[in-house]
Symmetry: C4
């Protein structure tokens, strides 16, 4: 079942090493079929070159594996919580891509320092609070999902398609697994730009709201005028 | 019409991902046919691998589309204003190449710190002032062109084939779209060199005018003696 | 003899340039056959593309060459000392990979700043003390091995599969030569992340022990739950 | 004439883009035939992919072109002066490779901060003084050669196979054009390591002389014991 979605999840996972977001098995992409509420995700610890679409594990939104013999990614429960909390998303990706990981390790949100950022992320890219010792020791992966959702209490996941988990690394999402991955690629590029911009000048400030609005809204939302009309 | 120019514009656009100046659709190259005053430019939001020469949009210098069904780049009006203001140029390119974008986000001109810079750019590479809220909210792309032209009031675009748009990124130009792209590649390299040079020493100063003159003028202008004689 | 092991050592050596850990001949991988106590290692100063499995030198644990006409790596005695001191390891690798070399040249251990580090290295990655003038002038390569072993007096080499040699560069090991190389690749990535994390913030601290335990122990040791069950 | 040498010079020039030392035409390699005193060098401003061995210009040590219709590199006179001053060298290379250029632009010699440096360069890599206005305006390329030679008054070019020209970039040499290029590749790597090492710690000092001696002399000179015996 879900043959098409499995193919898309496979392709999206293969984008990760191709786009230099991961080495070895350091990342995973999933997608959800909203009709059935079933999630397809990368198996744990399997090399990208060995992945086969038909072998990808399938789980329901309670985390029960309903298909596939391979164990799903150890981050599966985090993905599932995001699908539960953010009904508008269809794909989730987690990597340890270097520039985002650097910001996560430094415990810093990524400020919006230019129009490249504003084209895709509507404001500062948030970072979660640190997990408590208790949250680390019991249900760590579930609590990772919970702390992301807590961070987004007052945020729109469509306007901010990514987050940094403190001391850890980035999670991204999108309407499809493909869009989730392109958001991860772009957040990595923006994290790099922000690092060097901050390093070049002490006086750097986030861009003005009018410029943020202009760039985000000309590419996203109802009045966008970027790209070809596809409707 | 303009078959040859369309091919050149296509090739110049394909140089952008090949030279690592862009990811996804983050850049655009145009060219002008000075006899007819017609401009060929990349369509908006189309992936480089899907571009076809015969489908490239053609516009006149008033911005009216005279050929092609695809919508032109959202930056088209900026390109057109540059062709109007700088009669000596034949190609324009805009990217978010990382090192130039870092300087643009930091709001800093790129000082001339060595002979590599002096070989191609005759002095500090300028940065525009920030646009006002009013200029951002109304006719943003037109005002982007205007602020570049304002920055060049006292400058020769043949001696300074590029600019940083504040908070945004680089624009470059040249006699041909190919030369515009090679100037973009070189400005990116120079932006990188300048970043690390400034980081290595607090005391760095622009090179002396005699060295700037020597290097720029041995490669450019009437008394140049670099390269093969091709006349 | 040791045909299979020689093939594995050849493949592991070829991973070094492929993974951008070395240029020219700047690295070497060895493996030990614990049954016979024989060590297979890269010959000295031979280009990776010219290596042939059947020509790899074989030595016993006293350092006597028992097979092969090519001279073994000048670092051979260091490798042999590690095999003597750490009976649980089966492969050793030495490179001058840039990020690890930077930390080694700075004379600094690599602090554990995030979960990527904790997934593979159980705490700060140690750096040896500097060798004395006497230790440099007499039996330099032997003393390099000795100072690594001294550094690990109170450490478990299975929980810390690598070290920085002061002013020099990294050594890594693993159960197999392949695992030694993947540990070298990962230590290089972690060294890069740590460099940029420290540069981004003055206030950076090692991660909490609970997070270190969680990540290291979910991937390593008896209660790990990462990857597929292969027993 | 000099067919073999021309082939070697061609190959050495092609190494420059392959090893990421140059973009476009930003570098040149030459070689000398010591029997005839003739120098083969890259033509000026010709793309690497268009170079043909038989078309490479040949000059004598007075700078007279004795073969070939293409104009030689504008840096030819600098190369020739080095061949005159350093009788032990057979190849010279000049590039604007980024890390060396950064040190040159910062006006700083590259300190010997680790064994990687010591393996190839016997001490700090020197930087020339700046040229005077007079030296820039008259016979610039000749004076570039002179200032390198002045810098080496008390140095052995075999023990220090490279130099930084102030505000400009690196020159390297070797017994052959191939060795000159590998020295350029290695100096670029060392310049990168030194940059990041200095950035990581304020307290960094050059390595001790005993370690410098050990590493340089085990790879170079009469008592070296690195690599295979080829005599």
């Amino acid at each position: 079942m879900l043959q098409d979605l499995k193919k898309k999840v496979l392709e999206a996972n293969l984008e990760l090493p191709k786009r230099d977001l991961v080495i070895y098995t350091w990342g995973n992409v999933s997608a959800i079929d909203r009709d059935t509420g079933l999630v397809v995700i990368k198996p744990s610890g399997v090399a990208y070159e060995d992945l086969k679409a038909e072998e990808l594990p399938v789980l329901d939104l309670e985390g029960n594996q309903v298909e596939g013999r391979l164990k799903p990614s150890s981050d599966t429960i985090t993905h599932i919580l995001l699908y539960q909390a953010f009904p508008e998303i269809g794909g989730v990706v987690h990597t340890h891509s270097p520039w985002c990981t650097v910001w996560a390790q430094a415990g810093k949100a990524i400020p919006s320092l230019g129009t490249t950022h504003a084209d895709y992320f509507y404001g500062e890219i948030p970072i979660t609070r640190k997990l408590t010792k208790e949250e680390i020791n019991h249900n760590y992966e579930k609590n990772t999902g919970e702390v992301i959702i807590e961070t987004f209490e007052d945020k729109n996941p469509s306007y901010m398609p990514g987050v940094l988990v403190n001391n850890h690394g980035p999670f991204n999402w999108g309407k499809t697994p493909q869009e989730a991955v392109s958001n991860a690629v772009i957040m990595e590029e923006i994290a790099k730009l922000a690092y060097y911009t901050q390093s070049l000048t002490d006086a750097v400030k986030p861009i003005d709201n009018s410029l943020l609005d202009k760039h985000f809204l000309r590419k996203n939302g109802n009045d966008s005028y970027y790209g070809q009309v596809t409707k």
